[in-house]
Amino acid sequence: MNKELKVNAIKDGTVIDHIAAHNLFKVISILGLDKISNPVTFGNNLESHKYGTKAIIKITDLFFQDDEINKISLVAPNAVLNIIRDYNVVEKKRVDIPDVVMGIVKCFNPKCITNNESVVTRFNLIDKENVALKCHYCEKITDEKQLYVF
């Protein structure tokens, strides 16, 4: 009996586990799962020993590159990816915040050029523990409290 799996197992694909429940839809949007034709199932507000409630996403026949998956690190820092082949977990991957974050996060500074013209945002990670991102353009620091993911 696996209490965590409230949705059906998949044969081949990726299961993303340990997403904070309130960020499920951000993860779906960042990975573009709302725009693909592969079967996608997700469960939200599931019980988690570690985090209270969590979300889980299963995508059939889709495998991610590391740089793609690291995009979700800012909203799902504890996410674990289970790579499934023939119903078995063949690999587990953790996400890692990239040193340069492009086009995911909004600069908190209203006077920044990126909030006034269509510029792809770009940040350098200056603190991994507390998530502090320095805007490549206005040079202001967006921290965890101000973090807004598009």
Binding site: C112, I113, T114, H136, Y137, C138, E139, I141
Partner: protein, 303 residues
Amino acid sequence: MINRSLVSISDFSKEEILKILDVAADFEANPNQKLLDGKVIASLFFEPSTRTRLSFETAIQRLGGRIIGFSDSSSSSASKGETLKDTIRMVSNYSDLIVMRHPLEGAARYASEESKVPLINAGDGANQHPTQTLLDLYSIYKTQGTLDNLNIFMVGDLKYGRTVHSLLIAMSHFNPTFNFISPESLKMPNEYKLFLDSKGIKYYEHLEFTDIVEAADILYMTRVQRERFSDHLEYEKVKNVHVLRNDMLANTKNNLRILHPLPRVNEIHTDVDDNPKAYYFQQAANGVFARMAIIATILGVKK
């Protein structure tokens, strides 16, 4: 440095800064060198700044270059809704170099990435103003004969003042000691203090503007702006505490020079103006030589 943009003072290394200052000294000795014959320089001021614009345009004229551009956004295509990107793409087809002032922060970095020709940031909002920093450095170098091991006092609005932040970063190459004098609410932000810690540079913070200035080689004064205070009484209290008067200079060092990015409001009493240690008007004049040096160096016309 040839063909490279100048967006932030940290784009230039210590050696590159020193090279610019040497070239500036050469231009001061021989101000009319027609090195930009046949060059077209775009001067794009998306917000008015007469002081900075005239300094740049004087530098370009002295070098014999030609200027195209506008002095505020109402006379530019930006007023018709053209994006910064499109303006820069167009202008970089016409010119050899762009000088740009823009009210938005990060506009200069973005424009430099969209431009085919190098770009000099003449101020992007509250972010960077590197040519001001280079003229400050030139003024310090000229009056002290060196940039090394100086005791630099910064007074006034150290929280929001971009000129003190850029100067702090630039001077960090030269083993300075800093003394920061400001009201509690306008203290030097933590990120700059951490930066100094990481470089092993000594600094001291003070709330009162007293005879501690007797140790100073450079006294860098800044405006305390009324709009920075939510509490009007606090502003009234502070604005009179951090005013430099001539009698405070009696026991200061002979080599002390007083700098200010101008315009001043009341933080330097007019009775200081005739003191030989007052340097802020010459400092502004130095801006032309510093900007000549930056332009000529980036265009590769001055060896």
